[in-house]
Structure formats: structure tokens, C-alpha cells
């Protein structure tokens, strides 16, 4: 491929470079801008006088004495107790990922190995469930959760997110298990293992790449969710995303929109690291469904 580039006419090379440059600008610049701006004061980040103030930090100099200030972060994490939301997010994500993967591997394995028609119907039902906007389901939960006093607890939200996660997890692990040859577990069963023993001793040791990829997407779903967590969690159990949204309501009047900017950067950082370390798995996971049909 690389020698192909050299044979390219100049016009094509120029076009490719232009497209890539513009796209990189669109994809990366907003993040850099917000990261940089989160260390400024509001008067600079939203500058009435000159947008370049956000880069130079003119007012930040005047108000705090330095070109950078951690006031936004201090305000969000300490004053508004964003750490509590971060802790809640951590708890929700850990449990959602581990429970969805446990249920998903069992189900996905069975769906991959069953040759009966009902396995197909099961997957089709999961596909339909995948298409349901989560917020429509939330309006189904609320009356029941209020009635039974389940509303507001972290545990309820975890179970709900696991369930909403299941269709996707099942599809992904199903297509992954299909690629593990069936002879592997069948030969174990010929040797006298039960189905579950075969699963435990033969399949589990080789399934980790697929499980890690699926786990990343389960994590994303739990971490990024707004509809479910905003509606189902009480104020003290709030995770980070609804917390940021609640900043917007209160802080715009207080003039502390920088708290929201700082927490937005804080939320983005783990995602950034995740993409950095698991880029290959994410790309593999995104294309798995498509390329295999």
C-alpha cells in the first residue's frame, strides 16, 4: 500500500491530505480547545471581547495571577462534590460490565451452539429490543418502581442497565463464539464432560479476547448513559453524566459554568485513555458485526 502513495498524482495526494487535515481538525480540535479552556476563567473561555483571550488567558491573568487556574476543577470536584458522582459512576460501571458479561457469555455461547430455529428467534427478538430507545422503557419502569419503592437506588439502575445492555452483548458474543470451532467443546463432551463443564474448562480459557471487546462496549453504554441514570437515580446516587446536566441548570445563574467545563474534561479523560489503550479491540468490535454479516 505504501508504495501506492508514491505513485499517486499530486492532485490526489493533495486531496487526501486536505481531507485528512480537515477531518483531524474537526475530530480533535474541540477536545483540545475545551481541555485548554478548562484551565481559564469564564471571562476567557466565553470571551465577549476577543475569542483569542481563551488561548492567551488575559482575564485569567487579571483574576488569578497566573495563565492557568484550577478553580473550575476545585469548584466541581470539591465544592460541588463531583467525586461522589465519579464514585457512583465507578460502582455502576464495574457492576454493569461484570454482570452483563456473565449473563452475556452464557447466553451468547448457547445461541452460537444451538442449531434450532428458536435460537434465531431469540436473536431476532434481541435485535428488536436493541432498537428500543431506552427512554421509552424508562417510562415503563417509573410507575412500578415508585409503587415498590425501588426508585433511586444504585442497584436498580445497575440491573436496568444490564438488561438494556443484554441484546447488544448477546449479539456480539454470539458472533464471537461462532468463530470458536464447535469441535473444541464437542470433543470435551465426548470425553465425558457435561455441557457446562465443557464451557468452563474448554471455552472460558479461549474466550477472553471477545469478552474484553464486548466488555469495553458494555462499559461505554453504562458510562455514557444519560436517559436511564438521569431518570432512575436519586440526587445522592447520581452518576457523572446526570450530575453534569444538573450543573448546567444551577451554575449558569451562579456564573460557574466553568465547573461544568472542568467536569466535562474529567469525564472525557478516562474515555481518552480507553481509546488509547484498547484502540485495536474497539475497532475490531465495531467491525465484527458488519464484516461477518
Amino acid at each position: 500500500m505504501s508504495n501506492k502513495v508514491k505513485r499517486q498524482p499530486a492532485a490526489v495526494t493533495f486531496l487526501v491530505v486536505a481531507v485528512l487535515a480537515i477531518w483531524m481538525m474537526l475530530a480533535a480540535f474541540p477536545f483540545l480547545w475545551t481541555l485548554w479552556g478548562s484551565f481559564k476563567v469564564e471571562g476567557d473561555f466565553f470571551s465577549k471581547a476577543d475569542w483569542a483571550n481563551a488561548i492567551k488567558g488575559t482575564l485569567t491573568q487579571v483574576e488569578t495571577g497566573g495563565s492557568f487556574t484550577g478553580d473550575g476543577y476545585h469548584g466541581a470536584w470539591v465544592q460541588e462534590e463531583f467525586w461522589r458522582a465519579a464514585l457512583n459512576s465507578l460502582i455502576v460501571c464495574v457492576f454493569v460490565v461484570s454482570i452483563s458479561l456473565t449473563l452475556g457469555t452464557l447466553g451468547g455461547y448457547a445461541l452460537a451452539r444451538s442449531t434450532y430455529r428458536y435460537a434465531f428467534w431469540f436473536l431476532l427478538a434481541a435485535l428488536i429490543f436493541r432498537a428500543m430507545p431506552p427512554i421509552t422503557l424508562v417510562s415503563g419502569y417509573l410507575p412500578v418502581f415508585f409503587q415498590w419503592n425501588l426508585w433511586g437506588h444504585t442497584a436498580t439502575t445497575i440491573v436496568v442497565l444490564v438488561a438494556i445492555n443484554q441484546p447488544f452483548t448477546l449479539w456480539m458474543l454470539h458472533s464471537f463464539f461462532k468463530n470458536i470451532p464447535a469441535e473444541l467443546d464437542e470433543s470435551a463432551m465426548v470425553d465425558g464432560c457435561t455441557r457446562f463443564q465443557a464451557f468452563r474448562n474448554v471455552i472460558i480459557p479461549v474466550m477472553w479476547p471477545g469478552v474484553i471487546t464486548t466488555g469495553l462496549f458494555s462499559f461505554l453504554l453504562a458510562y455514557n448513559d444519560f436517559a436511564v441514570t438521569a431518570m432512575l437515580l436519586s440526587k445522592e446516587n447520581q452518576t457523572m453524566i446526570p450530575k453534569i446536566n444538573s450543573f448546567l441548570g444551577t451554575t449558569q445563574t451562579k456564573g460557574n459554568v466553568m465547573f461544568a467545563v472542568a467536569s466535562v474534561v474529567s469525564v472525557t479523560a478516562p474515555l481518552f485513555l480507553m481509546v488509547l489503550f484498547f484502540q485495536r479491540q474497539i475497532v475490531g468490535g465495531l467491525t465484527a458485526g458488519a464484516v461477518k454479516g
Partner: protein, 340 residues
């Protein structure tokens, strides 16, 4: 696999989906046919020196008891569906009769909450989806012709807009578009209008929401196409080159046909995801200019007065919309399976 072991393996996952996806759908449907109880009014006759007076008060106890006994509320049939906040049958009829011309009828309809929401949702879905496919394809071709060493970092930065939390990604763009932000200022400069504000203008708000939608979803199309490009047969490309096909003809007749099945997949995922557009409307605080079906449900559920029945009716209508969108795919999947 034996029926019995299949059953035990899928049971936990099936149970989770049954309890928290299937039953809620049923519950939403049931709820949408009920409305809150009216408060029980009691008439009390109070007599004093000046004679007797009848007054009406709300019987709190009886109301509470009634709510306790029938938490669903009273049966209302299709009343919620037909009211002003949903299908608004009466309003549509009178608008139909009074308005002259399609334009006026259309703009009148967009004043009704449900039609405003569905109007934006459908516009968003059917404009963003093709743009995502085209942009993703262009980026994939460009990245694929870059040198190998550059591709890793290119893919890394390309993934960011998709992996970012939708609410947060939309906020980042929103702050830049703010009249005091960098894009907002640039727009004012370009338009030569210092008072230009995206927040105040409906068309600009719609465009911004769609720009966000494309920005957020293009990486997905890009990654899928990029993976597809790795499997394009080099022999076919070589043969096309020998036959004198230029770069464009190679793309047109070899690459695009190869990627066509992937396009169906991307289109399906994008239609599903764009139809539920929700977070950007919250982030952009755009509800004065644009609402979506998901946002209407969220709006009904939040706040002091939780309008459960109204939310339920909108949910059912949304589910019907999803079903219509999904039906061609389902029919096709079924046919494919039958052939196997």
C-alpha cells in the same frame, strides 16, 4: 445443543430482557390507555347563623384511597393519544379546514408538540444518516491511502467523537458555538452580523444539531468502511487498473460494490440511533426550537408533575415508529434465514 442445556444457559439473560425490556413495553402500553384519577369532590353543607351553604372540597382521603386501590388510574381508551399533546386530531382537523396551502398547514402543524417532535426526529434521521455514510466513506478512503505509520494516530483521533459521551460531546460543541465562543464568533464574522446567535434561531439550531449528529456518528461509518477496505480484492483492483480504469473508476466499480453490504449495516444502525436523538437537545438547550420524540418523553417524566400517561402514549408512538423503520430489515433477515 440440547434443549435443556440451551434453556439453562440463556435463562439469566432471557429473564433480564423479559423483566426489564419486554414487561416495561407492556406496562407502557397499558399505562398509555389510562389517565390519573380525578380528585374526589365532596359536597359539604355548612350551617351557621346566617343559614346553610353548600361548598365543595377535595376529599383527600378518598382520593388517596382511590389512587391506592387503582394505581394505574382510570381507563381512558385512546383519549391520551388523541389529545393536543399527541396526535391532536381535533386541532389537525381544524387546521386542515382553515389553512390555505401546504406551507401554512405545515407551519401550523409544527406548533403542535407531537408533530414538532416527530418532524425534527424524522428530518434529523433522514438527513444525518446519508451524510454520515458519505463522510465516513470519504474519510475511510483518505485514511486508507495515507502511509501506514500515520494510520494509527489518524484512527485514534477519528474515534474520539464517537466514543465521547453524547451529552458531553454536544456540550463541547455547544460551548464553542456560543455567541462568545470561537465558532460562534467566527460565524458572526462570516455573516457580518455581530448579533447572530445560534441559540436564537430555529434553522441554525436545527443545522447545529445535525452537524453534531454527523460529527458524532461519522467515525462509526468510517471504521466499518475502513475495515471493509482492507478486504478489497487486490487482484480485482489490479485487473481494473490493467483495463485502464482510473482512480475514480476503480472506486466506482470495484470498491463501492464491495462495500455495499456494509452500507446496509451502517444505515440500519444509524437509523436506529438517530431516531432516538435526545442528548444533544438537552445539551444545546434547544427545546424551544427543536424537540424529538425521546426528548418529549423525558420532558413528561421529569419535573414536579410526572405525566406518566402522556409519556407512555408518546413511548408507544415512538415504538411504532421504530417498528416501521425496522420492518424492512426484519423482513430481509427473516428471508435470509429461510434461505439457509
Amino acid at each position: 445443543m440440547k434443549h435443556k442445556s440451551f434453556f439453562w444457559f440463556v435463562l439469566p439473560s432471557a429473564l433480564a430482557m423479559l423483566l426489564f425490556i419486554f414487561f416495561p413495553i407492556i406496562s407502557v402500553i397499558v399505562q398509555s390507555f389510562h389517565v390519573d384519577h380525578e380528585q374526589v369532590i365532596q359536597t359539604v353543607e355548612t350551617c351557621d347563623l346566617f343559614g346553610c351553604k353548600e361548598s365543595t372540597t377535595i376529599d383527600q382521603e378518598a382520593t388517596a384511597a382511590l389512587r391506592e386501590a387503582k394505581p394505574l388510574g382510570q381507563f381512558a381508551g385512546f383519549a391520551t393519544y388523541l389529545d393536543r399533546n399527541h396526535l391532536a386530531v381535533d386541532e389537525v382537523k381544524s387546521t386542515w379546514g382553515s389553512s390555505n396551502g401546504w406551507r401554512e398547514f405545515g407551519s401550523q402543524m409544527l406548533n403542535l408538540p407531537f408533530y414538532k417532535a416527530i418532524g425534527f426526529t424524522l428530518t434529523f434521521t433522514f438527513i444525518v444518516t446519508p451524510l454520515v455514510i458519505i463522510l465516513g466513506f470519504v474519510i475511510a478512503i483518505a485514511v486508507n491511502s495515507a502511509t501506514k505509520a500515520l494510520r494509527g494516530p489518524l484512527i485514534f483521533f477519528s474515534l474520539l467523537p464517537m466514543m465521547i459521551t453524547p451529552l458531553v460531546g454536544a456540550l463541547i460543541l455547544f460551548w464553542m458555538v456560543d455567541a462568545r465562543g470561537i465558532i460562534g464568533t467566527t460565524l458572526q464574522y462570516l455573516a457580518g452580523d455581530p448579533d447572530l446567535s445560534v441559540k436564537a434561531s430555529t434553522p441554525l439550531m436545527w443545522i447545529m444539531l445535525m452537524v453534531y449528529g454527523v460529527w458524532h456518528a461519522a467515525p462509526f461509518a468510517f471504521i466499518v468502511y475502513y475495515a471493509g477496505l482492507q478486504t478489497v480484492s487486490q487482484d480485482t483492483l489490479e485487473a481494473a487498473r490493467v483495463d485502464g480504469a482510473n482512480r475514480w473508476l476503480q472506486i466506482r466499480h470495484v470498491v463501492i460494490p464491495h462495500l455495499l453490504p456494509l452500507t446496509t449495516f451502517i444505515a440500519l444502525m444509524q437509523l436506529m440511533d438517530n431516531f432516538r436523538v435526545f442528548e444533544p437537545i438537552v445539551s444545546f438547550a434547544a427545546n424551544a426550537h427543536a424537540t424529538s420524540l425521546s426528548w418529549s418523553i423525558y420532558n413528561d417524566l421529569g419535573g414536579e408533575t410526572r405525566q406518566l400517561s402522556s409519556a407512555a402514549a408518546t413511548s408507544v408512538l415512538t415504538i411504532i415508529g421504530v417498528a416501521i423503520l425496522l420492518s424492512p430489515v426484519l423482513v430481509r433477515t427473516w428471508r435470509d434465514f429461510d434461505r439457509k
